[in-house]
Symmetry: C2
């Protein structure tokens, strides 16, 4: 073996990640150690240089606790410096090659002060969003312009109806990007014109959220266009554009807009309870570290298989204390209908957004009346 | 119902995706239809506008075929225009909200001529990579500089040893990004200096692959720096940076470098045989559509649980005909050791890269001698 190797400028600060390992008791210690190596040096243990690399750079198994039959909660800490102050690399450390392993699920991420300095998180959080919208307490009503295939004029007309009906936030459907039948720039401009008109009529401003999910460099170009045009927020699907796309928008000093995360392409990670990423970490911790201000998720009882416990985990991941990171807005969707609002608010609290899509169209023949009924119901939770 | 709605400028071109639906026969037709709606208009079926939206924009169930007990292969076609000529949106269509569904697995993507014009795919493919490396037939030897925590000088010294030992391609370990102990630019420059030195000694040029996995805009900045410095290729983990990061690099006219995809954060999609994305589509079709030239994957028999069938699927996804897209290089890693080379080449053919990491260090006390043994073994497959 070589003499002890030194790594300069290590602060000693460490962040950590907690995993569920579904392995027998005889294997858990070795599996945890293997994981700590895989996620960092990815090198044969016998050949890891002694000194700072072995002692600090390699992940450190901090605790192993039973979590049911043949399952353990394992916390591994990582030196702040290996994330290099970058969101993409943070994800690579806490959930990189883990993705290739069976029987490992990322449950939670615990940022350190050093990480929190490098990745400041949400620009607005719940309180900033509420202040911008002028809605201090009640659930925030959100819907989407859709379906794909409508012209920008038809989509703008729909936005006008939503606003007349008292919807707080109108977002692009996540399938609307920059297609020839509804080009991005034209859609943004016409929708904002429609919402301006409604604001003059009603005295209430409905916010518009532009979907900027795209690869680089289109993502940043669209975000800047939407900001300059007067959009109130941006939507990105991290499963499609990459989690670091959110970070790039949150850090862009020219933007100053809240960012909402959409679960398209992302929700899969939470699907299998033995692997992937738990709802709390996926829809909460990672999005907060990236700088999202709202987290769209699919609630139980809708058209997706998620359970009440999954929804509660999302809400907790968004709102519970996390190393000083601002709480972010859970946005409950995926088949929310007006009759379900009361039960959802009972279960998840009123500090959330209710995202009703198709349900607004099917509730009755008059879209504006349907929106008003939705709004009236929600006013009761003020 | 409204009168028939018209969507202007639809070409009639359609691409398709094939899914495995693990549902009983009584449910498969309804589930397939629901999926076709979810992935496109995401709107209550009763309210979908008649005419072009119902007939062309909504996904069309083209076939439903039994695939074992309570499982069906379902092919859905999509209008070219809904992908908007963008890789990110293509992914959103073929695997967007599907991510939230149980019992659906994306098996394959079949591009249309229109999609292939919009997304031209790999810049080099296998033949271009082989031409650039000057290796017409035999497996391409690849290894990584590691572990994380070494200085740029120590990493460059390691690259020098690899090159002296006859390794064809030296890549950054996927955990090396831009950390303070080995900053990106310094690492690229020193590693290239070391490989230049080796080339003068041996007369053979070892290629260097820079890991540019990062969020925007760092991704493009690092790629341009690496290109200008003389790197031979770029590596990106689409599970960390987003699949569209590969597309952005492949389309950047200033780059002209092959791109290798790393499975960190990406492999999870293939883990559950009933959901997610099959190896063929994940490590083959989607990467080719995005423009990757090589696909790093973990082989069976290494330290990950993948089976021989998984490896064969990856290889087929990379090399089999796909609507005129260039075949790309399967890069077998994840615990490949010198003793396993022969069996791997027997099973997967010689038109691949063998990625040996830790195995080169543990094979014997002299790293250069270990590399030479690896090279000699592989020369036999010429």
């Amino acid at each position: 073996m070589e003499p002890a190797h030194r790594v300069p400028n290590l602060s000693g600060g460490r962040f950590s990640a907690t995993y569920l390992l579904s392995v027998p008791s005889t294997e858990v210690e070795a599996y945890a150690r293997e994981l700590a190596i895989e996620q960092t040096v990815e090198f044969p243990e016998s050949h890891i240089p002694l000194g700072d690399i072995a002692d600090q750079i390699v992940g450190r198994v901090e605790s192993v606790e039973p979590a049911g039959a043949s399952a353990y909660r394992v916390t591994i800490s990582y030196a702040d410096e290996i994330a290099g102050g970058e969101l993409a690399q943070l994800l690579n450390i806490v959930y990189g090659n883990v993705a290739l392993k069976p029987a490992v699920r990322l449950l939670a991420v615990a940022p350190s002060p050093g990480l929190a300095r490098a990745l400041p998180g949400p620009r607005c959080g719940i309180s900033g969003l509420r202040a911008r919208l002028g809605i201090p307490r009640r659930p925030i009503l959100c819907t989407a312009i859709k379906p794909m295939g409508l012209s920008t004029q038809a989509l703008a007309d729909q936005a006008l109806a939503y606003a007349r009906g008292g919807i707080d936030v109108v977002k692009d459907d996540h399938g609307l990007t920059d297609q020839p039948f509804a080009p991005f720039r034209e859609r943004v401009l016409r929708t904002l014109e429609a919402l301006d008109r409604a604001a003059r009529e009603t005295g209430e401003r409905t916010a518009y959220v532009a979907n900027v999910t795209a690869g680089p460099p289109a993502l940043l170009e669209r975000a800047r266009f939407a900001k300059d045009a007067g959009a109130s927020a941006l939507m990105v699907a991290p499963g499609i554009a990459g989690l670091a796309a959110i970070d790039a928008l949150a850090r862009d000093p020219a933007l100053d807009l809240p960012i909402l995360a959409h679960p398209s392409g992302w929700g899969h990670f939470a699907g299998d309870p033995r692997r992937g990423i738990a709802h709390r970490a996926l829809f909460g911790h990672l999005l907060r570290l990236a700088g999202a201000d709202g987290s769209i998720f699919v609630t139980h009882g809708g058209r997706f298989p998620d359970t009440p416990e999954d929804s509660r985990e999302v809400v907790e991941g968004c709102r519970a204390p996390l190393a000083g990171y601002a709480p972010i807005l859970p946005m409950a969707g995926g088949g929310v209908t007006v009759p379900r609002l009361e039960a959802l608010v009972d279960e998840l609290g009123s500090d959330l957004s209710l995202l009703v899509g198709g349900g607004l169209h099917t509730a009755g023949p008059d879209l504006i009346a349907n929106c008003r009924a939705f709004r009236r119901k929600v006013e009761r939770f003020a």
